[in-house]
Point group: D2
Chain length 352, copies 4
């Protein structure tokens, strides 16, 4: 039984993990840490969890938080928290999965560039840990994750884009320049904190692009794709919010390499993901929507190149809160502890 | 292991049961029957179920449908189907749970009255079976359900109203005349068939009352409440559709009996439902919404009488597709087969 | 040309009036006052208004706010603002329409009771003005509004309930005790300020009752209905929020007086509102939804008594931001200045 | 006063025009034609129009439809209707605006290609009229529209894309190959007919791409852009439906020509649309959403090139039912009859 400490209990990322752990036969929540709601049961903040998780939230420096025996600590926290707190977890013999950007870049230079984009201190607080950290996109880094002490879980947009582009860049099916990621997210991607742009009357019949001048997620995407391609990949990334709650629909474009057809791309993707439990490949004629992955840890990739114009196109569908966050984190935990990768992650979602 | 035959596989009621059975440790789907989609896997009709239920749909009169060894047959079918088909199931030694109105009234007279209201033939096709049928509101009829061969599962509106009113009428906390059930349902209550009133652009910012001249569900409510009260109860029932998908919010009113206070009502409800796993009681000051029961088999009852005006008021929250349909049906199956009542029904839903 | 000063420019009540005034042939906006956004054009806060209202917002005590020549001042402000600021407007020869509860009760005692319910100072700051104020439900107080210096515009819930109950209590078609107002509002009723309960992910598939322990709107309703009935009327009021943006659906119940039929009620309502441009009467068999009044100044009342149970029932549909707020305020202005009552208020809304 | 005949009265395109004409000071509806609802007032089909349009719908071959004196006929009809019926209108001295693809291509060859894509007879039924028809994108074809007898109104997707790309291709700011139009539409774009994909429970939290194998709208876009560029332009077009009702958000990509900067593109767009009342240009740092054009005839273009990757990017926002359909049609009518172009089209929409 893997014993879990969850830091950042009350956000969507935290409760998503609580939900998944409840169903997991080989892992259990041992301690819940947050700076808000300390002393309250989690179910007071989130009444729908009554009877499922009535565990009391404890403060980060409380004895319960520091001394409870656990095997793995999840940081479901914003940028900055994990780099300060993870070293102590590691020192205590625990392994770490961090949801934020703190451990997505295993070099201080790359991290500094990332930090500047999000207006944070470019100096990482745990540079040694950073260097050994592993990027938590299980399908690409499974063997390293197995042994990793610290995993930096991918951003939700990055997850949808990298899954959708990896085989194309790896097998040189497309030009490495001029790739476009047109990404639409549901509102839950913005977290639980109320804001004008997520206020129901302002959002209900409204789609909008944002942060057009630069978005931090593009760095992870370019780094991963460049590694796969063995050369620099550049990506134009457009984040957009649409009036739904769960789901990311990323439409990915590039120029098809000479002679590459839709059929060839389809084959390459089927081959690349043949053994992956959580990635499904569809051709252009099969109807798919984000509701087909809602509540599940799946990514569905629709291969729909436009041969007439010579353009590669893949539509990537994930649930931003599952494959894009808590589900992917749990998938990594399963790998880290030698459990079957789908354990606790293969239940059908509720529809509609 | 309880072996299940599901008739009416492709509707919301059918897939809801498929989802729940997948998680159930002591029951399994043995055969899927429908008149639509015969020969296809269910997951072709519902791609989100790929890998969870790829069982092929068979026709009602196929050998697979009639000869597969099963212990219980669920009719997730509209009115009329179960009364024709259930006798053969019983004859084959199977027990039956029917979602429709076919077995909610265990007398031919009551059924005839109900059938007239919904413009159907008032002559029941299986009068003997009708007479032995049990109304499937587990919390009220647990011991009969245990032994029942045929259970008529409650309507979703009726479920929300009867749970919310039962202790009040049983203990004479309110007048038996002049009870009002003001019920708001999410759109999934209308099923999966497209219709003008459920067309996204017509429904998205629109709330409406319907069938004001008479709604079939009131009969079940009055019958159950009259039985509990030991005298005639009359109910004014207003069905309304609001632009959400899952959930019923029923606000229930009556005149408080002489001397009855909010405190007294609250105590009576807490007492009445003390041992019920799926019914939660809240006082007026605790915030609740239908999202707190979304995806779960729970009913939450907020006791909020208005002592100033002498009015009893209870707000009843359920998920129309779970406690209002498939969850309640499975709860009955658990009871019928001597399984723990919460088996397969106690997983936390996904939020938001 | 009626010259208008609008105080509280940036809220939904303010922009609603700006939209309506733009279309009005005999009134024009002369000055925009707010404490937020001072010095900015309104269209910077609300880009959709670019080219329609680029007027600069001025501070309440600025020379523009105090010295611009206007005929009427609208306070689209929360409780408390109008009672402090209205006397100076009156002294300057302007007439006043206030959206809040500040001038809905023309006695200091009633106001004190109201203020206590909303946790405000029970001492009104402009008691003389209060005494001469007129309740701005045009259909009931047209002749007094014509001459009024200060009009207290009704609350949106109160508007829907009083319109729907007035003929019934006036003509003693129902008992004066035991009346129930079950009211569902769209989220815009909560204003433009982000809050947890109006955060898109928390509200999108969620209906909830709130402030069950007492809501300020019931006082207006009871006062108006008691005046009409010539005796005390008591009302149980349940406010509920549903996941839509514009619209109130109020379902109103009472006990039918001896011998009163649906037909009789329908006739009485048709007669009572025969000459009203903004009130439409429907019978139970005509389908109506809040989308039929969305964007318009209409109230649609569906008369749907339940003769079987002896219950009166009317379903009242309004747009909370038009007939429930800015539209009704403009209707009052038209009356106050001798303009045709429908001027600027009779344009078809956009559908869907 | 321009007298209008509207064919196809009951669809969203028809009622959109009815709403706009009601506000128009120099045009009026003279006759309403449809094949559904004949003999009924339009307001029976659409109760929200009561008092605004109670005109009776007449059959296409009725005397009212053929003999009423009108100046212009709008075909708010699907493909195929206008090509059969327009010649008689022209013969009767009327001018024609057609919403469908029937008159968007003024050559029989182009039309044939278009017709094949939508599985229709490639032989146009009014080839002579087709040849003289003018593409109704007012901003690009104003002078020809002025004199046109037949105007083929643009498709809604095409409108958003062409407005957003025209200056770029005309001034060679981007490569003419490899252009991407990533388009998201609200559900009203699919019309008023209920369908599984637009059923509220299936659409509410679901975004999806469709017709990936080829979409008819790309032809108009490529034809117009090629004409502007003076050479062949190829476009990859991705239609997507998102859970909102009104609005199109089109994100347009291309490769920036050598040396072209964001600043240069911004200037070119400001210059190109300087005198256009309905097109607003924004830079990347100004927040915009489709709600800023909702209910209005505006297009807002956000210029947001990615200089780092050398990519041109424009985000185009329109209301698919106004600038994308009825508003644009009315704008054309204004031009055809020498009226001010903004007449009847410059009222502020209702927000939120």
């Amino acid at each position: 039984m893997v014993r879990v400490k969850l830091v950042g209990a009350g956000g969507y990322g935290g409760i998503g993990l609580v939900e998944l752990l409840y169903r997991h036969p080989e892992a259990k929540l041992s301690v819940l840490v947050d700076v808000q709601g300390v002393g309250q049961p989690l179910s007071e903040m989130w009444p729908y969890l009554q009877g499922y998780c009535d565990m009391t939230i404890v403060a980060p420096d409380s004895k319960e938080a520091t001394a409870t025996a656990v095997d793995v600590t999840f940081f479901a926290t914003p940028d900055g928290a994990g780099q300060l707190a993870a070293p102590a977890e590691i020192a205590a013999g625990r392994r770490v999965v961090d949801y934020s950007g703190d451990y997505r870049f295993n070099s201080t230079e790359l991290y500094a560039e990332y930090a500047r984009r999000i207006n944070r201190d470019p100096v990482h607080q745990a540079p040694d840990l950073l260097k050994e950290s592993v990027y938590g996109l299980t399908e690409l880094h499974r063997s390293e994750i197995k042994k990793a002490r610290v995993v930096g879980n991918p951003g939700c947009f990055a997850m949808s884009c990298i899954c959708g582009l990896a085989p194309a860049v790896k097998h040189k099916l497309i030009d490495l320049a001029g790739i476009v990621c047109d990404c639409k997210t549901g509102v839950s991607g913005g977290g639980k904190k109320p804001a004008a742009g997520f206020h129901y009357p302002e959002r209900y019949d409204n789609a909008s692009a944002y942060r057009l001048a630069g978005h931090q997620h593009v760095m992870e995407i370019e780094r991963e794709l460049s590694d796969l391609a063995g050369g620099p990949v550049s990506v134009t990334f457009t984040p957009q919010v649409i009036p739904m709650v769960r789901g990311i629909l990323s439409t990915l474009y590039g120029r098809l390499a000479q002679g590459v057809t839709q059929e060839r791309v389809l084959e390459a993707y089927r081959e690349a993901y043949r053994d992956e439990a959580f990635i499904k490949i569809k051709s252009a004629s099969e109807p798919v929507g984000t509701s087909d992955v809602r509540g599940s840890n799946r990514a569905i990739l629709t291969i729909a190149c436009d041969e007439r114009t010579g353009m590669f196109r893949v539509v990537s569908h994930i649930d931003n809160l599952v494959k894009g966050q808590a589900g992917s984190a749990l998938q990594n935990m399963n790998v880290m502890f030698g459990l079957p990768e789908t354990l606790g992650l293969n239940l059908p979602p509720a529809h509609p």
